[in-house]
């Protein structure tokens, strides 16, 4: 199969589109950044791509709640086309704001008969925070995390605390193996290990298929060794560990 094409979808306020495209390029994909308006005008545009990524930023200013307005646009206008996209065996990735959009759009299979059962809300600190965190993967469900056990990546968010409506919902997602990325004490990470109060230390989750994945940390911010906060203390000059997720996504189509 030729190199997969990646649609990086930007909305007003999206701001990690360029570096996310760069990461996919480094991983061997062909990334194209398009405005959400183009997809709303021509939903069948999605069919030309193998991977769809909603990057980080503040879509619509995160006004009302982070990712809410973008997510509603998906629910109102793009639900069908994105479910088809998933059914076709393709991949969806949401990073930071993209995760907030995915979870609020229902694409991570978190809705039940009473409505959305999981969300991302304000950090316990009540504040935006930029810092690096340790992460460990759980299970083998998620395509993007294949072969990755632990990671050290930056977060930069105010509304990243993973919450479920009740403990039953949390248990259900856990049992289904969807809670695939957790904040953890890995080599080099600095306490507090859970930076925002997320339930079960969840930093990222996938849908029932493992092909739709959302995470709060920014893998695209660690693709070069000089992005690591301690790089001047390390001998390691190899590529950043965040690139592995993008490589997994691209490799999935080869």
């Amino acid at each position: 199969m030729p190199q997969p094409r990646i649609l990086i979808l930007r909305a007003p306020g999206t701001n990690c589109d360029a570096e996310t495209a760069h990461a996919f390029q480094l991983a061997g994909g062909i990334a194209e950044v398009q405005h959400l308006n183009r997809l709303l005008e021509t939903p069948q545009l999605a069919a030309e791509f193998q991977i769809l990524c909603i990057p980080g930023g503040f879509s619509y200013g995160d006004d009302i709640a982070a990712g809410r307005i973008f997510a509603n646009q998906i629910r109102h206008h793009l639900s069908e086309v994105l479910h088809e996209f998933r059914s076709a065996g393709k991949l969806l990735l949401g990073i930071c704001n993209g995760f907030q959009v995915l979870i609020k759009s229902g694409l991570l299979d978190t809705d039940d008969e009473s409505g959305p059962a999981a969300s991302l809300t304000w950090n316990d600190s009540g504040c935006f925070i930029d810092r690096w965190v340790g992460l460990e993967t759980v299970g083998k469900k998620c395509v993007f995390l294949a072969g990755i056990e632990e990671l050290y990546l930056p977060i930069a968010h105010a509304e990243g605390k993973f919450v479920t409506r009740d403990s039953a919902a949390l248990e259900r997602f856990d049992q289904a193996g969807q809670l695939v990325l957790r904040y953890a004490d890995v080599s080099g990470s600095i306490p507090p290990f859970n930076p925002n109060g997320s339930m079960h230390d969840v930093a990222g989750m996938c849908d029932a298929t493992g092909r739709v994945f959302g995470l709060m940390p920014h893998p695209e911010r660690f693709v070069d060794f000089t992005q690591h906060p301690n790089w001047t203390r390390r001998e390691d000059r190899s590529e950043g560990a965040g690139l592995g997720m993008f490589r997994n996504a691209v490799r999935y189509f080869s």
Partner: protein, 979 residues
Amino acid sequence: MLWEIDVHPIVGLPDREAERVAVLAAETGIGPRLSVQAARGFLVESDSLDADEVNRLAQELFADNTVESSVTALVGDSRLATPPTGQAHGESPTLLQVLLKPGVMDPVAQSAEGAIRDFGYSVSAVRTLRKYWIDGASQTQITAISERILANDAIEQIVKGPLPFDRLQHGSDYQFQHRTVSLSELDDTGLMRLSREGQLYLQLAEMQTIQRHFAELGREPTDIELETLAQTWSEHCSHKTLAGRIAYRDEQGERQFENMLKETIFAATTELRNHWGEDDWCVSVFRDNAGIVRFDDQFNVAFKVETHNHPSALEPYGGANTGIGGVIRDTIGTGMGAKPVCNTDVFCFAPPDTPAEDLPSGVLNPKRVMRGVVSGVRDYGNRMGIPTVNGAVYFDSRYLGNPLVYCGNVGIIPVDKSFKEPQPDDLIVSVGGRTGRDGIHGATFSSAELTHESESLSGGAVQIGNAVEEKKVLDVLLAIRDRGLYTAITDCGAGGFSSAVGEMGEGIGAEVWLERAPVKYAGLTYTEIWISEAQERMVLSVPPANWEALHAFCAAEGVEATVIGKFAPTGRLVLKYGDQVVGDLAMDLLHKGRPPVIRSASFTPIKPLPLEIPLGAQDLTADLCRILGSYNVASKEWIIRQYDHEVQGGSVIKPLVGLANDGPSDAAMVRPVLTSRRGLVISCGMNPRYGDLDPYHMAASAIDEAIRNCVAVGADPARIALLDNFCWGDCEKSETLGSLVRAALACHDLSLALEAPFISGKDSLNNEFSFVGADGEKQTIAIPATLLISALGQIADVATAVTMDLKHSDSLLYLVGETKEELGGSHFALIHELTGGQVPTVNAAVAKRTFAAVHEATSRGLVASCHDLSEGGLAVAAAEMCFAGGIGAELELAKVPAGETNLSAVALLFSESNTRFLCEVRKENVTEFESQLEGLPVACVGRTTLEPELRFLNESGSAPVIAASLKDLKTAWKKPLAW
């Protein structure tokens, strides 16, 4: 119908907003344990929405049902007044509702309107509000909470109890009225009264010039003509004082300047550029919205730092928010448009622990100011997706009524897009936000002194930004720039359209059709449209043939673009409203007609007094901890982590570095082009305390500090560009202006000697605050003379960068640079409240060679870590390197290279002599390192150790004069501002 949707945390989950208010109430002494509940509210006005639809909006848009519940009702319904947890014991808590004043930017409401329409519902307006139920508070406490915590009267109003309205205001239609101002009959007193009361803030000579001009024309000016002149001639827009005639006198005699800036700072840059000839790497200096220098073959780099002091004093959040928004537009409006790649922000506040009883009337609590400013910068910078990578915070009680907020932005611009040239008959196109009454008189207001009444006089000058609007504008502008659809671009900053169009059309002429400008609400007069400083607007010069294509690009991204006039080649500025000409001025009058400002300036050197070091029991370890814990030196992690400093993916050296990512980096480094290894370095220098002793050496020290911070991380000293930002007191006072001239002379001398060109700058004068004291007398607090020097360095390969944290426990420590008895203005003097002493000076010739040699050593990989010596001198630098790296050190004071012998331990430890670095060198690199630094003052002063302790010995073998564990040192440094 006016619906209200209230959203609050599900009962039992934390109510963070309520907790915040309760904590602040306790912290500010209003009440220790108030019971508060909070909710966010949305007022939705619509003729068609029914209760089910509003409930659906509450469920699917406004509330997050996993953690929040909602209440929906028509305004007036008693359910809206009931606290979330219900009424307890029949007592009714006080309900306070906070709304933005009409006309104040409400980005959330704007977004909500769009989001409601996306459901297919129609809506005519949305407003947001915040609600608080406070239990068990007295009337006095309620008033104090309202004024000091919940709302700022400059932009917000508080409603006690239910809302007293059932529809939202939309403004009323504007009835055109052509207004003229009678000038011809006024005497000098009348002219000055008009200048003041009309908020023109022009000087008498300027008012007289305008009066004469219109007398010659045989008519009175219209209101809009007078406003245009006031905006264009304002200090903010024309920098008339510093670019004016100044008779300067100091101990060396008199000097006459025709244009002070041109003859000092600009002159140095011009001389350097001539000297470099073919190798000149400056591209555009002191002419565009930002200075531009060469970066690589593809890109140049633009840099600008602005201040937003007066708005931030009145409304810290909005002032800082629009300050960063404004400076970002400066780089976007430079050349044909630069792409912002990082921000730098420097603030000056009064100490946050200033007691409430020491606050004059009209002054906000410094802690509140600081919190507001930090949040304002955070919310704009983060939303724009521009990393905030560098900054500093300085504290001095003289910033009490007049805090300083410096906001800077760096952008990259393709080499062939670095210049602009509007063409005759191009269309004048406004792109971005709509025009409202916000920010009227911002340009002239910034030229006035703040008083305790400023808030009521100039409330309109205070604004809130809408970052996402600016992000949309940026995204679309970069796309159309690269398609060559416009010939020139500038931002709408101070003075709004009047400045933007006036500047762009200076060499051509312009005709403006004011009624075409899109407005936020009806009722704006033609003058308000013309001088409004509403945010997020850019002005483009567009060839008529490109208009359709440009408009289509903007429409595709939901950005409004409107033709508001054309650059008619008449040499005149003609303002029309409909078919009425409301203003007609010669461009020459605007740009060349202002009478020169003539000022006298004097400087009397302060007689150096000895600094008496207190004798007796000296505990130098305690002194070190106190300096580490002083506000200027202490960790700013609380601020730094609220800023996204890694967005765009170019982060190389972060503001906090080291083993636990919490050591203070000397400078930030970013890689602006992800496919290249070349880096930009951003740093700053500022020493207001030195200015009290000698502004010349203050400026020289700030320049040295900014450059050495850059060099410490690996920047090439042959490629460092500088910016100056002067914030001074009232420069009509000869001594105040004299101290500024003296600082400018240092900028000239050091720039030339270090071959570091100034490429842009800005001044903010009149930073004084007046109030009526307890004795009924007017008192004035002037800020200390505050010069911020920002440095923009470059590094060929970011992989050669160095950070300040110690790396190994068996290295040698070299001190580069000479230590002198320079404790004047030092932090040692600060903590002991000592006066006098020698202010640090710069030996420019030695500095130049030192910077070159240190750079050579770092780029060859000979330096494992490097830290500049600044506040707190050697002791603080060593402590910071140790705790950042988690590695101990032992240093011997006897080995410190010092010009004079017999320097006391205090001087060796805490003197703040310039041009010094502490370098960690591996044993195998010692010979090569020493040879690189040959001929310079340098010595091996110690070694790193495995034990987590910092020790300073007077002589080897003696008992340490300082001994402290890294843990204690780090705690002392981190604790004070860990909010």
